[in-house]
Subunit: 123 residues, 2 copies
């Protein structure tokens, strides 16, 4: 008789989660969500400065994706100069706890990881 699948309680072997994870798990999303969670609504340029290293293009694309998934709301004001603000939707805000935990974990264990890496590389 077959053993129960090692990952029985991970729904559909993680299949439906994949697409969701792809959104949250891409290079910039978590960072941007975290920043928006901490700062509230931000303009494009402010966001651009808050995420060091991101290109204009990637910021645009990431925001578009997040918007498409209903995590971020885009509001354009008809002014001159134009002003566009991005903020988390309620759905996006529901990620706040997780993102905060993740950021916390990353800072807490940064040294351990660093050490582990050097130890691993030194062989």
């Amino acid at each position: 008789m077959a053993l129960p699948h090692p990952c029985a309680s991970w729904p559909d072997n993680g299949r439906p989660i994949r697409e969701t994870l792809d959104r949250v798990g891409d290079k910039w999303s978590v960072l941007i969500i975290g920043i928006l969670a901490l700062s509230g609504p931000l303009r494009f340029s402010a966001l651009h400065q808050s995420v060091p290293g991101i290109s204009q293009r990637m910021l645009t694309l990431t925001l578009r994706h997040l918007q498409r998934d209903g995590l971020v709301k885009r509001t354009a004001y008809a002014e001159v100069p134009p002003r566009v603000e991005y903020e988390l939707t309620p759905l996006g805000s529901s990620l706040r706890t997780i993102v905060t935990l993740l950021a916390q974990w990353a800072t807490d264990h940064n040294d351990e990881i660093e050490t582990a890496r050097r130890h691993f590389d030194a062989r």
Copy 2:
């Protein structure tokens, strides 16, 4: 006078977090950590089957990365046929809560995201 940076409490504007996030945030890591968290030690082949869609190469690479970062421990048994088991280290286990929350969130809000996407695409 300069306004306080919008992301003051995100350490170093998220810089040191980036590398850590890159590990956790790549395409397969979270899934693999989640599976190991649920199942305990697994052999390579079992892991391979538990992650539908992953190629052998990517599984190898991802495991190597996780091992390098001290999140996963690899144990090879000198037998015939050879047997290799992967399990979470204590450091890896400390991610268990977060990964579980993430998986929970993904399943909980899968429909909302789906809806948001269709709504967004239909314009």
